[in-house]
């Protein structure tokens, strides 16, 4: 068994829901982010094209972060998840540098202020400290919501199928851009998607064998997966227009075409 995730770039509407879900699920400190939503902007002078990539730890099969860790705090589970034992990590940050995808973040004091820095901790934060304590001075990253998977499996549920056993970001994704399942099972939802829609991984030349796959039209080349223009929702265009003010007309024109 090897848990994996497939991210359909054509479906992602850049709503930041996955980022929020992960923050809530793990009571992430204010300046700590496990998944990220990054955007590659190309502007040919006529149209602005923004491809958004939700990224998180790829749970690499050959994980450099595990190999370099001097304390064995970073370890690989039998189900392929790369986890960190924060009681063992001594915060050398070698893994942060060695991860070719930059998916690890060191939790420094600066990254861990109160949610409202000038004010006392909120009730949510206080609860979080009990339920999911984060240790300042150690390194963190996405763990494929292994707590949910373990608890779900213990109840006989199926990760990727049953919501209770499925990662929080996958559950919340309103566009169903994220799919979770077993990569070792050729009939699983993820294996089928990768096969049928030309799934690809980021920088496969590193030989890290990531467990997070991407599918899209542009890079994966599957015509059936071409992003519909309406995927760029109104709110998204509005958001872009505030970031790249001069391109508003160009985007409007592109949408009209």
């Amino acid at each position: 068994m090897r848990w994996g995730m497939v991210i359909n770039l054509a479906k992602c509407t850049r709503c930041h829901g996955c980022i929020a879900a992960c923050r809530i699920e793990h009571f992430l400190p204010l300046r700590m982010t496990w998944p990220r939503l990054i955007a590659l902007e190309t502007d040919d002078g006529f149209s602005v094209d923004v491809s958004t990539y939700p990224v998180r730890c790829n749970q690499c099969k050959e994980a450099p972060c595990v190999e370099v860790c001097p304390t064995e705090a970073s370890y690989k589970r039998e189900d392929g998840i790369v986890a960190i034992d924060s009681n063992k990590c001594f915060g050398c940050r070698y893994c942060v540098i060695a991860c070719p995808y930059q998916n690890r973040t060191y939790l420094s004091r600066k990254r861990n202020p109160n949610y409202f820095p000038e004010h006392a901790k909120t009730g949510f934060e206080k609860k979080g400290k009990q339920i999911y304590p984060h240790q300042v001075g150690t390194t963190e990253k996405c763990n494929f919501c292994m707590e949910r998977i373990d608890a779900g499996l213990a109840k006989g549920l199926k990760p990727g199928i049953d919501r209770e056993a499925t990662p929080a970001c996958v559950n919340i994704c309103q566009a169903r851009a994220l799919t979770f399942g077993d990569l070792d099972d050729p009939n699983s939802n993820v294996s089928k998607l990768i096969r049928e829609k030309n799934g690809f991984v980021l920088h496969d030349e590193y030989g890290t064998e990531p467990s997070v796959y991407y599918i899209d039209y542009k890079l994966g080349g599957a015509p059936s997966n071409k992003a519909p223009i309406e995927a760029q929702t109104g709110s998204h265009i509005q958001h872009l227009s505030s970031v790249y003010a001069p391109s508003k007309e160009k985007l409007a024109k592109k949408n009209a075409d």
């Binding site: 990220r36 590659l40 450099p64 304390t71 940050r93 070698y94 060695a98 920088h203 590193y206």
Partner: protein, 323 residues
């Protein structure tokens, strides 16, 4: 909200899209890593040079004190600086066998283990060297034991000197470091630093180590200059990100560190001083030698700073595959 504030808010969008410099090992508390690595080079360099001089009886006292200083550089400076850098320094022991088997794959763990072994063998060797240098016990048995520990401490000293280079060159994430040349550059620059420092020790002890150290320095500095050129040329053609690192180093914001610190003070000044004394047939004056030693040491700080500072990550997206 103007475009600029909006952009700041959306900072995650710029993450790893373009080549991004590593900061963990050079900014803020990361400066401790830089200092630790400099003391690693100076300490191991001086110790390794000291055991070569220890082979000659007339340099016994200089070799002893140089060895002590090198050992102190590692034990009192390098290790504590590394430990203070850690987020949880009191878990330092977790990197050691039998608590961890990480030495099988991790250069960091290997380095810590090698450093500790070096310190133990080095301490024993220095005690023996002290007995010989101050004629407390000068029997053939002590000499033989000294040789044995010289070899042992020497081997682990070399490993201590190179492990940091290997730890960095392991990182595919930073193409500029991802080359087998890096450990060699660090080792040879460290030995050259050691040669410069032992001249200073020789000035204090009064033993005539300067001519020997100078002739070795001349050759080593030329070798090092060629090695650095080779390293930069290699990086320049290795990948677009490594090329960017080279540009940043020789033409970017840290160019002054490269040209002033590494090239001028670290290589040219010490080389000119030793070449002039070679052609004039006279030893350089004490003042000039002290100046050359200081310049060389600044060069050691500059080299590690420059290499750490221009460590740039390869972008994450396939579009950036050219990097």
């Amino acid at each position: 909200m103007n475009a600029r504030t909006a952009r700041q808010w959306m900072v995650t969008h710029e993450w790893m899209i373009k080549p991004m410099a590593q900061t963990e090992w050079i900014s803020g508390k990361g400066l401790l890593v830089w200092w630790a690595e400099v003391f690693s080079a100076l300490g191991t360099g001086l110790y390794l040079v000291s055991i070569f001089f220890a082979l000659r009886e007339e340099f016994a006292v200089t070799a002893f004190w140089a060895g002590i200083l090198g050992w102190i550089g590692i034990a009192i400076f390098k290790l504590p600086l590394h430990a203070f850098y850690l987020g949880k320094w009191y878990r330092f022991w977790r990197a050691f066998p039998p608590f961890s088997k990480a030495w099988r794959t991790s250069w960091f763990a290997r380095g810590i283990v090698m450093t500790m072994i070096f310190l133990v063998f080095g301490a024993i060797q220095l005690i023996l060297q002290g007995l010989i240098a101050y004629d407390v016990a000068d029997s053939s048995g002590v000499w033989a034991a000294n040789y044995v520990f010289m070899v042992l401490a020497g081997i682990f000293g070399v490993m201590t000197a190179v492990y940091c280079g290997f730890a960095m060159s392991y990182c595919k994430s930073v193409p500029f470091w991802n080359t087998g040349l890096l450990p060699i550059v660090f080792l040879l620059m460290g030995v050259a630093d050691g040669l410069a420092l032992i001249m200073g020790v020789g000035m204090v002890t009064g033993e005539d180590v300067i001519p020997t150290a100078e002739s070795a320095t001349r050759i080593l500095l030329i070798v090092n200059a060629l090695l650095i050129i080779m390293y930069l040329v290699n990086a320049n053609y290795q990948s677009a990100t490594a090329e960017l690192s080279v540009k940043e180093l020789v033409r970017g914001r840290v160019a002054w560190v490269f040209w002033l610190g590494i090239v001028l003070l670290g290589i040219i000044v010490p080389l000119v001083v030793s070449v002039v004394s070679y052609f004039t047939g006279e030893e350089a004056s004490t003042g000039l030698l002290v100046f050359a030693i200081i310049c060389h040491t600044i060069g050691a700080f500059s080299l590690k700073y420059g290499v750490l500072k221009v460590g740039i990550y390869r972008p994450i997206l396939p579009k950036g595959r050219a990097y």
